[in-house]
Amino acid sequence: MRSPRVRPLQGLGHGWRVARALFTSQYALMLEYRAEILLWALAGLVPFVMLAVWIESPAGAALGMGPTQLARYFLAAFVVRQFTVAWVLAVFEEDALQGRLSPMLLQPLHPFWRYLASHGAEQAIRLPIVAMIAALFFLALPWAFWLPTPQRALLTLAATFLAFVLNFLIQCTMACLCFWSDRVNALERLIYIPMLFLSGLAAPLEAYPPALRRLAEWTPFPLMVHFPAQLLSGGEVRISSGFTALALWITGLLLLVSVLWRAGVRRYGAMGA
């Protein structure tokens, strides 16, 4: 039998080629679903609703954030949220139940890389939609316009990327539980409310009582929106502790996902396949 001519799987060249092929195919796929992605992006307008509430409310003044800073914060929260959304759990659960996971497990590539590429492609489709919504925002509220400093812009990019990785890994952790239960998707609904309030999406964390704020800081939620949004909007933020917390959470979750995955695939029954 003729031996297949394969390159070693290690090496940056191979990794780059796989990443490029996955990204371009997923981008083509996401383009097919562009209308759906537009609707998802529009469904993420919660921060603007909250902005309207806070600007009109006397409590807004008590925050120590004027209308300009509030507007910038909520726009930044919207932008950050758009690029940190992860939906691994829903897709993985369906793939596992429908038997689509099996062909993925038979290829020398961890299935999570495919989901990561899907998210990257989806974010690339979201980019012009988010830019358009931001432009409309500034047209409506020209007094809120600002440009972050180059340093803040770079830090925001890094923090948003790490916040996405954090969110992605939380979803992967829950997805691994699909090996034990068929309806893990319910967990997402369980964490939706704490995520909405403790991440800073509904209100800046500065609005909360000190005890609740301290509690929030022990969770990963503020790192998902509040930390990058404060960086982008020019608000007060502890940069080094934010990045340290991100690094710790990501490392811990990577280990947890790895352990759960190994234990989970042992239980996999390849149902429906």
Partner: protein, 334 residues
């Protein structure tokens, strides 16, 4: 009894067993409540102590009714599920470890499942597969061209998968599954749902692929035509146990100790007289079908030709699917 394994076997199943734990619920409201309060589980043995070996280049048919344990065995041999007991060794590797070098040497095609992206042309998915398996671009183009030619695929590869017919989709799936040129092919119902022509094309492709690349094939199919055309050797599994490992002919002999003799006589003959030659399966005017034991066949045919006004005589085995079907319906194996 476990076979003595030879050193060059490419697939080895040694006492493979798989037991699933399945929740058992009684029907009705009371059953639902009981199930909620105290869940009961039953152990269901899907595969029991199955042993066999397959050598490089062999094409082996894997037969059995629904739920016999065929797919579970394939899943264990590809590493998708862990065996409850026993050991599997495929291409020198333990499948459930799913090491990259093992995965690059095997493929599993499931007739009902797809790996290609539904909304994109197959070529997009093939490009991803080529990258994942580390096949360089020129080589992957050449392989796609060669396999597409063997499968009679052309422009179809540029159309979104959802726009293709079932047969075209199956061929594209086969192309994707074989792009990395695996040495061991596990095919689970690769012709399921295809029309007769498409089935024949897939069969001819598989035979051609086996010839050209010396690949080992373990094939399950409900269509006996697939098995008879491709597999000199068959494994028959029933209720999780291996019932037969050998040629299709040997299986036929085992399942049907009689052969069928079809006679066309010059004139109708009395039924009583016909019964002296063997069991009369049917008698419609001048056409008679007799079942005669294999050990008595030569003598019986000589007598028939000497004693009856025979115009035409044909000796054949009962159709294998009929035999196996009858066997499975009866539920008891000899």
């Amino acid at each position: 009894m476990a076979p003595s394994f030879s050193a060059n076997a490419i697939i080895r199943a040694d006492g493979l067993s798989k037991t699933y734990r399945v929740a058992a619920k009684d029907p009705g409201f009371a059953g639902t409540l009981r199930h909620f309060v105290q869940r009961r589980y039953n152990d269901v043995a899907a595969v029991r102590d199955v042993s066999f070996q397959i050598h490089p280049g062999e094409m082996v048919g894997f037969l059995g009714p629904n739920g016999a344990g065929k797919t579970t065995t394939l899943k264990m041999l590809t590493g998708l599920i862990h065996p409850s007991a026993g050991q599997a060794l495929v291409a020198g590797c333990t499948p459930h470890r799913r090491q990259a070098h093992f995965l690059r040497r095997i493929t599993l095609v499931m007739g009902q499942k797809q790996q290609l992206l539904w909304d994109l042309p197959a070529l997009d998915s093939l490009r991803v597969n080529a990258a994942v398996y580390g096949i360089d671009e020129a080589e992957s183009r050449q392989r796609i061209h060669d396999l597409a030619e063997m499968l009679e695929l052309g422009e179809e590869l540029r159309r979104p998968l959802r726009k293709l017919s079932l047969g075209q989709r199956m061929k594209a799936e086969l192309l994707a599954a074989l792009l990395h040129r695996p040495e061991v092919l596990f095919l689970d119902e690769p012709t399921l749902g295809l029309d007769v022509n498409a089935q024949a094309r897939v069969r001819s492709f598989l035979a051609d692929y086996n010839q050209r690349f010396g690949a080992t094939v373990l094939l399950t199919s409900h269509y006996m035509a697939d098995i008879t055309a491709l597999c000199p050797r068959v494994l028959l599994i029933h209720e999780g146990r291996l019932f037969h490992d050998g040629s299709l002919e040997a299986l036929t002999q085992r399942l049907a100790p009689c052969r069928e003799v079809r006679l066309e006589l010059a004139e109708p003959w009395p039924l009583e007289a016909l019964r002296s030659y063997g069991e009369v399966e049917s008698c419609e005017g001048r056409v008679v079908r007799l079942l005669i034991r294999r050990d008595a066949l030569t003598a019986a045919v000589s007598r028939l030709l000497a004693e009856l006004p025979v115009r035409d005589l044909e000796v054949r085995d009962p159709p294998i699917e009929e035999l196996i079907g009858r066997l499975f319906v009866q539920g008891a194996l000899p």
